[in-house]
């Protein structure tokens, strides 16, 4: 079927019917200065010329596979992606990023989502997973929606750790505009008064949690890569009747105690480390897991397994009546979509690696990061910022503006760490360095070598 929305002849007939001469007449009521300006574009190029021009522009890009050694993380991580992941993603049966809206006809898609949900539950130690969100930040914001709905708007305080990803915290604020929530815990006063040491920080967060708190949000590993056991914080929050959301790195969960076993009520995070490239910072996928008792307040799609009239296994979208397209303004969230294609990438990646494989990836990250931290802390004038256990990321004091250091590193083919001073004024001259299985020992040694030249360079 040819799809031509409207031919010039049809358009003229429509304009004649309503009694105007041209399309422009329809916009007459809009003052000229507010209309879209005339664009001064150069003459159109041929396809060959355009390709040539764009290819030349693309040559200016440097990528971390061929051109640069990367130690940049801060939420997006450079992991190896087996080629099978992309192969399966690009199959015609799967190759749509969109959530199924006439779902039961697509049993394969539903089964893939069901497998994804099961894998995320196993990884986080939780009971229920939805079919995914846009990314880790939106999944975290949806946790606030769940908690607010769980207490039917009667508890308006959300305690957020300052060591939750700064961009996630910004998204929570955007998301909750107009919801009359009180977001506390991550203001700069808490940051400067306490040196972000884990015990002080957890105590401060606990003392902020009271009977008006619906949710406490912490990150695991935190934004600085640190690992801690949140069990007592969670118990203290529960004693006040509040829920706790843990934002987790899924790779780390293969190695460390799960937030589920610490008693978390909601575990969310970004699925990028599980088989999704860095691209230019997105798109990504967010996972959202919780306890069965909160499933009716959970946003998003949910696939369930059932049997059909002949007793055969089948998959359905389940508990859809809680979603916005049915419950309208009474729904917890206005999200009833998911990020199917990238959730599938997570499912394929996890299935390929298996429990042991993912653990090996996590172990490689851990050991390489610790080797890097040890070597880097020996450099004169530099040092690790924190003493707590960490996973594959750590804050390094470089003793001078991070921007300068990173410019120097880039000259030597190295993409340096994240500048922590931009979000945490107390951590001026500190960079966050991420090390994954992709970084060889030689690369780490090169980083150490180049960084030790910085102060003399």
């Amino acid at each position: 079927m040819t799809y031509i929305p409207i031919s010039p002849k049809e358009r003229d007939a429509m304009l004649a019917t309503i009694g105007v001469k041209s399309l422009d007449d329809l916009f007459e009521d809009i003052p000229a200065k507010y209309r879209f300006p005339k664009l001064n574009l150069p003459p159109a190029l041929t396809e060959m010329e355009a390709l040539d021009k764009l290819s030349n522009l693309a040559l200016a890009n440097e990528n971390i596979r061929e051109d640069l050694i990367s130690f940049l993380g801060a939420g997006m991580y450079n992991h190896y992606i087996p080629s099978v992941v992309d192969h399966i993603l690009r199959r015609g049966e799967f190759y749509t990023a969109y959530t199924p809206y006439q779902p039961e006809i697509s049993q394969g898609t539903l089964q893939a989502i069901f497998e994804y949900q099961s894998l995320m539950c196993a990884l986080t130690g939780m009971e229920v997973s939805n079919a995914s969100h846009y990314d880790g930040a939106t999944a975290t914001a949806e946790a606030v929606n769940l908690a607010n709905a769980q207490f039917r708007g009667k508890r308006k305080k959300v305690v957020i750790s300052p060591t939750v990803h700064p961009q996630y915290r910004a998204v929570i604020r955007t998301y909750t505009q107009g919801m009359d929530m009180q977001l506390v815990g991550d203001d700069n006063s808490l940051l400067t008064n306490s040196p972000l040491a884990s015990t002080d920080l957890l105590d401060a967060l606990t003392s902020l949690t009271d009977e008006t708190t619906c949710l406490v949000i912490v990150q695991y590993p935190d934004f600085f890569g640190r690992i801690y056991d949140y069990t007592s914080l969670i118990n203290a929050a529960h004693a006040k009747g509040a829920l706790v959301c843990v934002v987790a790195n899924p790779t780390a969960l293969a190695l460390f105690k799960t937030p589920g076993s610490m008693g978390a009520d909601i575990v969310v995070g970004d699925g990028q480390p599980l088989g999704i490239p860095l691209w230019y910072g997105g798109p990504s996928v967010g996972f959202f897991t919780t306890r069965k008792q909160y499933v009716h307040k959970m946003a998003g799609r949910l696939v369930g397994e059932t049997v059909d009239s002949r007793g055969q296994r089948g998959y359905v979208l389940t508990l859809t009546a809680r979603e916005q397209h049915i419950k309208r303004e009474r729904a917890t969230s206005n999200i009833c979509t998911n990020q199917s294609l990238l959730a599938l990438a997570n499912a394929v990646y996890l299935s390929l690696l298996g429990k042991q494989g993912l653990r090996q990836v996590a172990e490689l990250c851990y050991h390489k990061a610790h080797y890097a931290a040890e070597q880097l802390s020996k450099i004169e004038g530099m040092g690790l910022c924190f003493t707590e256990p960490f996973f594959h990321e750590f804050a390094l004091c470089v003793g001078r503006p991070v921007e300068e250091v990173n410019a120097y590193l880039l000259d030597h083919g190295i993409l340096g760490g994240y500048d922590l001073g931009q979000d945490y004024p107390a951590l001026k001259d500190h960079m966050l360095i991420a090390v994954t299985e992709m970084n060889t020992k030689e690369e780490i040694d090169t980083l150490v070598e180049v960084l030790s030249e910085v102060n003399h360079g």
Partner: protein, 125 residues
């Protein structure tokens, strides 16, 4: 369709028992909703509510409905067991599936069973 004569009814398909002060949804309502999988009662014991206030939310496999109080009064009891077995709203809407019980209740604008039966009949045709 079961429409007990000792109860009073709302246009939004709730029933009210003037003798006991109990409130629930009608047989007609449960039939329209089909299989009910979730119920959440919003009000707590001791609360004073007005007729027309949303007191509960019910979800079936295909629909979701808010339940409004047919009467004003003080909430004397809440059926806490209902959340664990929402399916009784389908099987026993006037018995086990009561939602809340009011004390010193004053009815809103309610129909008797004959009027409600006529009201339901009009909607099915």
């Amino acid at each position: 369709m079961n429409i007990p004569s000792h109860l009073k009814y709302t246009k939004s398909d709730e029933w009210f028992d003037p003798a006991s002060g109990k409130i629930g949804i009608t047989d007609y309502a449960q039939g329209q909703l089909s299989d009910i999988v979730f119920v959440e009662i919003f009000v707590e014991e001791g609360e004073t509510i007005e007729a027309g206030k949303a007191i509960a939310s019910v979800e079936s496999v295909k629909a979701s409905a808010e339940i409004y109080s047919p009467a004003s009064g003080k909430v004397a009891a809440v059926n806490k067991d209902l959340a664990n077995k929402p399916e009784v709203i389908n099987s026993d809407p006037y018995g086990e599936a009561w939602m809340i019980q009011l004390a010193d209740a004053s009815e809103g604008d309610l129909m008797d069973s004959a009027a409600y039966e006529k009201y339901c009949a009009e909607r099915t045709h």
